[in-house]
Subunit: 365 residues, 2 copies
Amino acid sequence: MSSIVTFLGKGGTGRTTSAIATAKKLAAAGKKVILMGQDSSPAWGMALGIDPSTEPQSVSANFAAMQLNTTVLLENSWEEVKRLEAQYLRSPILKQVYGQELGILPGMDRALALNTIREYYQSNQYDVIIYDGSGGIDTLRMFGMPEILSWYFRRFRGIFTESDIVKALSPFVQPISSAVLNTAWTTADITENTDNPASQMLEKGTEALSQGKVWGYLVTTPNPIAVATAKYLWGSAQQVGLSVGGVLINQGSITDSISADFAPLNVTELPNFDGSNWQTLMDGLPTIGEEIDTPQPIEFVMAERKIKVFLPGFDKKDVKLTQYGPEITVEAGDQRRNITLPPAWRGNSVTGAKFQKGYLEVTIG
Amino acid sequence: MSSIVTFLGKGGTGRTTSAIATAKKLAAAGKKVILMGQDSSPAWGMALGIDPSTEPQSVSANFAAMQLNTTVLLENSWEEVKRLEAQYLRSPILKQVYGQELGILPGMDRALALNTIREYYQSNQYDVIIYDGSGGIDTLRMFGMPEILSWYFRRFRGIFTESDIVKALSPFVQPISSAVLNTAWTTADITENTDNPASQMLEKGTEALSQGKVWGYLVTTPNPIAVATAKYLWGSAQQVGLSVGGVLINQGSITDSISADFAPLNVTELPNFDGSNWQTLMDGLPTIGEEIDTPQPIEFVMAERKIKVFLPGFDKKDVKLTQYGPEITVEAGDQRRNITLPPAWRGNSVTGAKFQKGYLEVTIG
């Protein structure tokens, strides 16, 4: 199984440089590594010293790099959508729309990047996939997408099935199906069918994340604004289930206050990088992408009827908790995470919640 | 009418600082200014010296700031969606879903930010809206959204109207309508109705952009990777119709090569900023957000049967041109722009195209 590694922090603190050095170091140790760059500008290849391609391209032994180009990825995905449509519809209509004319809307970059990461993850061609993204909340939105999207599907499928619209449509579904579709469908298929390619993709994506296979590393300088950004991203990363493995300090020294800010994480001071001394930088990196002991983002303590959510870097005032039936919603850092209560606790309510030392402790009555 | 100003460039080159200094300068000159921050972390307020709020908050005379918090914006929009649903549906189903439980998917941050910018733009409360976004392609995707989304609507409405699905559904629409909707709808309403709130929002958004009301300023250091990023964003900004008004150089001097890279733009070297000498920085800024003479992103030369598209910062090999019926698609910088031919040229084909000095010149036969 591949590991997935990404670097989080404020722009200009050395995330891309750290990603490249990590790729070089792991490749030198014999791991097969692919570096994926979200930045589609020529600047990305300059940092890497190659003219990058949208297909994996060898940089050195064991080390391949590819630039994620959304127009190319969208064209390929569109062909796949048309192929699926042709399977299900008697008279496909989407064939009249060409992949080459599709514009890019907000969100498509990350959705298509995640799909690419998933494909390489499932192919098992590489030991480590390093995703060099924009390194902030957008990267976290991307990794959080499978869980959140599957929540939307479940929640809205539930209410649509119960709705007057579906009840009114039901008698018509069969005749329309036979006129339009290659296969006969019923309303039940539409509302309950989870065996479709979209659901499967989501589940595989969620699986990769839930197995703790995505590692985030925080990158910062000693500048207080950069440190505050890294702390915020640490907490935010927990909200999408990322394992944060450590902190890299660039362009300065570790202070006591920085160590305290990021405890219990391992903090590493990186050597100065002059644009070419890669070996020095590689030697200065900690071990990256391997199982280490970090706090679990979320833990169910059944005996104590408690849920412990690790939310470092936040203040008590930043954290909000709500409950709707069998689900509790934790809001922190401009993100929401919906946690479904274990079956044993269904029907029970939150009776207590406290936030201290970076942990939200929720008690279920 | 408000002007909208945004700063584009690599992370860490001083975009947020430039945005704040610009706000202070314009406010000191008597303009009413609002600064909107896309960064939802506490780091954003630190740069500004305030504890920011999700509602406009006074920083100093004429100068308000607000932090765009996507969870808050999504909750408010969801209330609006439910209000609309209740108007149209006999038995609203969405009321069972609470805004407080909705997670954030990729794309929502920018869609909701654009909607907020549009609201403030239409309210005319401020002379200048400064959007401090992530400053890269994501900001451009946001400003490009109205035009691209309305293209998707037009294109897919066209093919759905002609499709077997809609033809098969047509006889059922009336009976379902009366069972489910508060008003009677026909298939024609669904496929042709452009008088709905979503279309109107899009049109207003496109209007703001097409009137050249959004100004982008490039921010860079003399570092070659930062310069390459700024050049790429210059060309990419043209693709979404932004007017790029100039270049700000931070942490270094203007060289001949930088001036040549960005000709004919005005390039300004900013004084060093130590974190507090705002007045020095304000004095060093060029005039921002006012009508200046920049090349048009796109120009139709009817007499010569030519379309001139300004795409600076790109090489010939980065630019692709395709034609489907009455529309030509220009692809450059991981973006696509669909240009509908003027009625006089409909039915004609592209007979020639050349790319030189940053201009794509397309001849229609």
